[in-house]
Symmetry: C3
Subunit: 356 residues, 3 copies
């Protein structure tokens, strides 16, 4: 796998990997690993096997038997050990070859590469960089997704486009009126660019919607009708792996002792699958409302909208893939692209740190 | 895009473009551009957006937003302007970026490449060579297709084979008894090679069928039965883009004042899509007969026959595509291939002129 | 086609051909060539046309017209001659161009490459190495498949994996309990590795199952129930093209004058199609039993089991195909792999002989 530092220009060349290895990336969701289930997932170009051990923790290792190369995910579990379907080679959850059925001893060098994996429900985070450089303190967490005062819904899309196309998409919501005419487009006024700020290595946009009625997606539960309220949206590319959006809604007319602040958050979690495809996990969460039908409506709107993004991003990537090398597509940026361009520099910094 | 001059040998190497840019090529048909319809078509390796303006003329430009690369054909028209579906970038029909919804001013360098396009109904001709070298005087026209004394039918095939395979196909009709046994094969005596002539840059074949009964496709309207008449076929590769076939039928027994000459014409119009695929527009026209059922029968026969050619040409191309580079397929030519070989030289001359 | 000598390591690089040309390979089965039938089959990377002549022998030649490259298998036979569907070029069964319909004489250099082909029913063997080096004495034969005292069933699979993956598969039957749990897995005790021996250029394994009840696949006809008998399995890679397995069953309790020996044989015949795919013909034969339902049951078990192998081998090859060049997949071998590793050296010897 070759990594190329990127400049201002498009980081989407299908021939180059444009993702840092030294980062915790989402590998999947907690609820995927039902009892005994083997999940095979290509992450950062490598096939990874995921399963839950009897102690509840998760194992992650190369999904390729070191013997003759069969994906281990085609085999089965024996307790916490994984058995290859071809000749029954058995590995511990630490990737160590512990049994060859036809002989007494195993060669010592028989070991699969394993990956540090940390569960921060509802997500699983994996480290695929050099062994020993993983720092568990750096794993992200969204504790509110486990907080009983919050409700959330989420989904997973496998998008046939470089993950940076999605990163740029969620940093510039002025595409709402065009891509999401019938979903998010109806929600909000993103007709003007947001304000972009750099917060350390993080890239954020901020936009205020004050003294306005609340958009339907936020209003569904509150049922405030046309009441004029204040809302501040903040979207942040925390790292190449993670984007967090928070809408802070304030009711200026809340009486004393009445609740006045409400939060709505989108998590956008992207993990490269190959140079031209990625996994996208999203979660829409809020700390108000318990209406089941509101939740279902929000999930359905979000699902439809993200499918609209998928269609757009994949059309862009198809054209990129057909372009001759070296990739030098003409590109004109708008003011609203500031955040996306900052995210490219954010990525570049991650990549440079890695090649030191 | 690389262009390689060709020699006597096969010009079909999938790795090389074997088409001149400095030529008017058919881009589509007039009747494709219904009100507001956006047509995206890959021509000479480039994705082109086509639409009809309010004044009735046609716009042709790169089908790729200069902002972030979405095909503009996924957007919509606003009057004569095209709006990108991603962030609403708006372009004039001259490809000039005229509006970014989120800001007041547009960068001046925001321009799409446009292409001269000329309508000669029922066909649209495009120039994709260097700007300023397009000469509208050189655009072909088939005025008889607009003449009320003529009737015609036509179709479009997207053939997964290099366009030169079709050029060679229509220059040597001795394939009729083999490829078109149940369609054109029953029509005509192409058991011997035609006579080939060079007329300036044009390549033609001529074949006379004198004192013979008329083949069914010509006879359908005339209903002459076995009457012995004279027919002269002339097929001409006018350019790499255009092949014109004319059958001139003469009734030697026409009395004084009676009509004695009848014309039947096939237009074969080929435009490369990629190095290994092309667009093929055909039209079958005649200046006699107004029987609707004859027209339908002729169209149906032609459609079936061209599908037979498609099957043959695509089988040849598949084998070419699987051949290792450099392409040096053995090839033995027959006398009947003279025209096809002359067409390769015709193409070579076009290519050499371009690389000067 | 490039040939690379292989070492101990994996010979499956999709970028290299790992098969000798100087060898008789199976091209098909006798019963495929019904009257007038044209079979097109890619063998060792070359498209070959096969058909049966009027004298009952078989013709094999390049499946590509020397004129303009159409597969001749799209044409038809005229007696023993093959007619191209495009322009009617006609070739003798010796590949000589004998007629161009539109001219009197044929160019002398118009000849297709033909291939020596020998029928040893039920198989056809082809030689694709240098002309003149084919030695008919070296063609394999399985005369028992034509012996009325034997019964057999067989099949053909087109496996999307390098043929050496199958060679190694049939040399190490310890995969039975894992891949074939519900088919062969239930049959036999292949829980320990066999003994491997080199017999000249041949590689074999031997394993004895003495004083044991007979496995169902062997017992189906004999109906011996739990009677304790002796069985010796011997599997042999005769060449890269051929693997022969024989189970010799001996009934120690047979009375004087009673039959005591029974043979069951599997033929595993592999022919590379491309660098990453192969043809696999198998035949299961035995010299006892005439129960039709036993034969059907054996054929059905074998078919299901070989489909299980196909699934495994194709999963391995997909991962190989996705691996970056140069191919250096980690590999740990077991004692049971001895035979497979010997087969790689067997192949290497064939390849080296060829490059002298």
């Amino acid at each position: 796998m070759s990594s190329t530092p990127i400049g201002q220009c498009q980081p989407y060349d299908p021939r180059n990997a444009n993702y840092p290895l030294n980062l915790w990336w989402v590998a999947g969701r907690s609820d995927e690993l039902e009892d005994g289930k083997l999940v095979s997932r290509k992450l950062l170009g490598t096939d990874v096997l995921l399963y839950r051990k009897s102690d509840g923790s998760v194992a992650a290792m190369e999904d390729r038997c070191i013997h003759r190369g069969l994906p281990l995910s085609m085999g089965w579990l024996d307790g916490d050990k994984i058995v290859c379907r071809y000749h029954g080679f058995k590995y511990s959850h630490e990737g160590k070859l512990v049994e060859i059925p036809t002989q007494e001893r195993c060669p010592k060098r028989g070991a699969l590469r394993t990956f540090p994996i940390v569960e921060r429900a509802p997500f699983l985070w994996i480290w695929m960089g050099p062994e020993g450089e993983a720092d568990i303190e750096e794993v992200s967490d969204f504790p509110w997704l486990r907080d009983p005062n919050w409700v959330w819904a989420g989904g997973h899309l496998n998008i046939m486009a470089n993950y940076m196309l999605l990163k740029e998409n969620v940093l510039d919501l002025t595409h709402f009126p065009f891509v999401h005419q019938t979903t998010f487009g109806a929600l909000d006024d993103y007709e003007a660019a947001a304000t972009f700020v750099q917060e350390g290595s993080r890239v954020a946009f901020i936009k205020e919607f004050n003294n306005q009625p609340l958009s339907p997606i936020y209003n569904k539960d509150l049922e405030w009708g046309d009441r004029l309220v204040n809302r501040t949206d903040k979207g942040m590319s925390v790292s190449p792996a993670e984007h967090l959006f928070t809408a802070t809604i304030v009711d200026p007319n809340a009486g004393p002792g009445e609740r006045s602040e409400y939060l709505f958050r989108f998590q956008h979690l992207t993990t490269p699958e190959t140079n031209t495809t990625h996994h996208y996990w999203w979660a829409a969460s809020r700390n108000y409302g318990v209406h089941d039908d509101a939740s279902a409506w929000i999930a359905s709107i979000a699902q439809t909208a993200f499918a609209e993004d998928k269609e757009v991003l994949e059309a862009i990537q198809r054209r990129i893939n057909e372009s001759p090398a070296p990739l030098e597509l003409p590109e004109v940026s708008a003011i609203a692209d500031q955040g996306g361009l900052m995210a490219r520099r954010q990525l570049q910094a991650y990549m440079e740190r890695e090649s030191r």
